[in-house]
Structures are given as C-alpha cells and as structure tokens.
C-alpha cells in the first residue's frame, strides 16, 4: 500500500516538475492576443543569446580649430571731445592692429601728426579755429581713413546787451531835465527875493 502511495506521489511530483519546466520555457502569449497553448511538453529552448560584449567606443575628442581671436580693429579717440578755447590741448589715443609706425592722424582742427610707433599723443588745436565739428582721422598705411572720430569746437557767445554810449548826444537826457529844473528853481527863488525886497521897500 505504501509503495503505491509513494509511487503516486512521485509521479505527481514529476508531473508537477515537468509542467513547471514547460511553463517556464513557454513563450509569453503574443501581443496579438493569441495565446500559445500551454502544453506540458518539454520545449527545447535555444540558449539565450548573450548580448555581445562590445567595448565602448573610444571617445576621441573631435578635431577642432583653435579658437580664433577676433581681429583687432583700428580705433581713434580724442580727449576732450569738446573744446571751448582756441589752441586747446587734446590727447589723441589710437589702436592699430599692426602698430603705428606709419600711422598718421589728421584733422582740419589740428593739422597732420605722425605717430611713429606711439599710441598716444597730445597736440593743440589751431589758434584760428572756427566753431564747428571737425573729423579727426587715423591713416595706418596711407590709404583710408582706417578710423575716425570727431572734435567739437564751441566758443562762448556774448550774453545781454552792449553798453556803447553815455547819452552825450541825447537832448531828452536827464541832465537836460535836471538843468531845466535848476533854472526853474533859480527863477522862482529870484522872483521871491525881488518880492520880499519890494515888500520891505
């Protein structure tokens, strides 16, 4: 009796094991909804393909051009930019990409000046300067100008009226009125004195 029970139990266990194995190897139902009938048959499963081992690609830095510096532009500035007297001193400052050996600054306000390697020079405006705005130009190699700025000349104007006369030719001037007044007063005083004399007489 016991042997029969044992055998039965073993058979059941084996069957359960086989079923479990079959279920484990059964591919999941397809997404289309058709389900693969599960069977208890042993399915040979191809060995799982191991993902290929690949070495990660070497990260070579891209070949890039070295960063380029923006080209230096020629520049000229004057300080001060406004003058209020003739013959005023001003400072001219220049920036030149290839130096200032042959550079020249020119303006109708102050003439022509060679820089000869300098980047700054101090000059005077002309003493006969008229009011106005004057371009100040930088020439680096004879053609151009390569840079330009401006200088403004403003000179003071008179304010108010002119004092040009002292009234010497004015017949209606205060002096005449005062004179007439004195004459009139003198006349009255004389008349009063004569009257007193006649009264006493």
């Amino acid at each position: 009796m016991n042997r029969i029970v044992m055998a039965t139990l073993a058979g059941v266990a084996a069957g359960a094991l086989a079923t479990g194995t079959a279920l484990a190897t059964t591919p999941p139902p397809s997404p289309t909804g058709t389900s693969t009938p599960t069977t208890s048959q042993t399915v040979t499963v191809a060995p799982t393909a191991t993902p290929p081992t690949t070495t990660p690609p070497t990260m070579t830095p891209p070949i890039t051009q070295p960063p380029t510096t923006p080209a230096v532009k020629a520049k000229i500035t004057v300080t001060p930019q406004l003058v209020t007297t003739r013959g005023a001193w001003i400072t001219i400052t220049v920036v030149a990409p290839n130096g200032t050996d042959k550079a020249v600054v020119e303006s109708r306000a102050l003439g022509r000046h060679e820089l000869k390697g300098r980047t700054e020079l101090t000059v005077r405006t002309f003493t006969d300067l008229a009011p106005g705005v004057y371009p100040v130009s930088l020439y680096l190699n004879g053609t151009g100008p390569d840079a330009e700025t401006s200088l403004r000349a403003v000179f003071p104007k008179p304010i108010g009226p002119a004092k040009t006369g002292d009234g010497a030719t004015q017949p209606e001037s205060g002096r005449a009125a005062v004179g007439l007044g004195l004459i009139a007063a003198g006349g009255l005083a004389t008349a009063a004195a004569l009257r007193r004399r006649s009264d006493h007489a």
């Binding site: 009226p161 002119a162 040009t164």
Partner: protein
Amino acid sequence: MPQHPAATSAGAPPAAALPRSVPTRLRVPAIGVDAQVVAMGLNPDGTAGEPPLSRPDLVSWFSDGAAPGQIGVSAFYGHVDSRRSGPAVFYRVAQLTPGAAVQVSRRDGRTATFEIYAVERYAKTDFPTDRVYAHTGRSEIRLITCGGTFDPAKGSYRDNIVAFGSLVTPRP
C-alpha cells in the same frame, strides 16, 4: 530773426568763406565810418567787451566769435556817443538801410565785404542774444551800438541797435 535775402529763392548764393584772420579796419561808406578795429573778449559779466569811452573812434571785434569772412557771426561794437566826442563812431548805424556795404580789412591783406540786410532795435531788458549771435551757416556780420532814449538813472541807453549783414565778396 530778420529775413535774410539769401533765404528766399531769389537770393544769390552766399560767397565762399575765408580762413580766419584778425580784422584791422572797418569801413561803412554810407555813414562815413572808417575806423580801426581792436579785438576784445567777454566782460566778466558775459557781455561783449567794447572800446573805452575815452576812445569813441574805435570799433571792437568779439575775438571769440568768427573772424569776418569765416562761417559764423562776426560781431563789431562801437559807441553811439561820448562826452569826449559827442557823436561817436557808430552814431549813424541806425540810419543804415538794406544794401549798404560794410568793408572789413584783415591782417592777411584780404577784405571781406558785407551787405546790410536788416537794421533792428531791441530793448536792452529783452535783448535777443540767440537771435543776434545765432550761427546761420554762412558768413555774417553784426554792427552793434546803443539807441533809443537814455536812462540817466542807469547811465545807459535803453536800447541796442543791431545791423545785420552777410558776406558778398571776399577779395584776395
């Protein structure tokens, strides 16, 4: 601003400007003026410098302004009268009429000739500085003196007379 004849389409184009040179003599044949010019700047109160009353024969030129013939306003001042002389150098400026010539000799030997286009009178209490000295973009002249009635309390005339002129001929 007095109407400039060149502002109308019938006006002749302005004469070419001259480089700066100090004026030396001023002539106004219509009123018998032939005077030496002296350069003067501003008074401390900002008004234009004028010759002393002891020299009623002189005309002053505002040296910070344009030279006669340069683009801009060239301003000249002269007394209308003085105790020393009675009538002074600019006594008859108020009698000028449009078309009168003003000749200014310069140190460089050139003569700038102007033509008067307006003569105006302004109260000193309301002197139109901008109107008289405004830059017009051409070469112009102003002859300025006193006028109107005399104010004995202030010791000065109540008005200024301003003759406006524009350059017609620079002579080399």
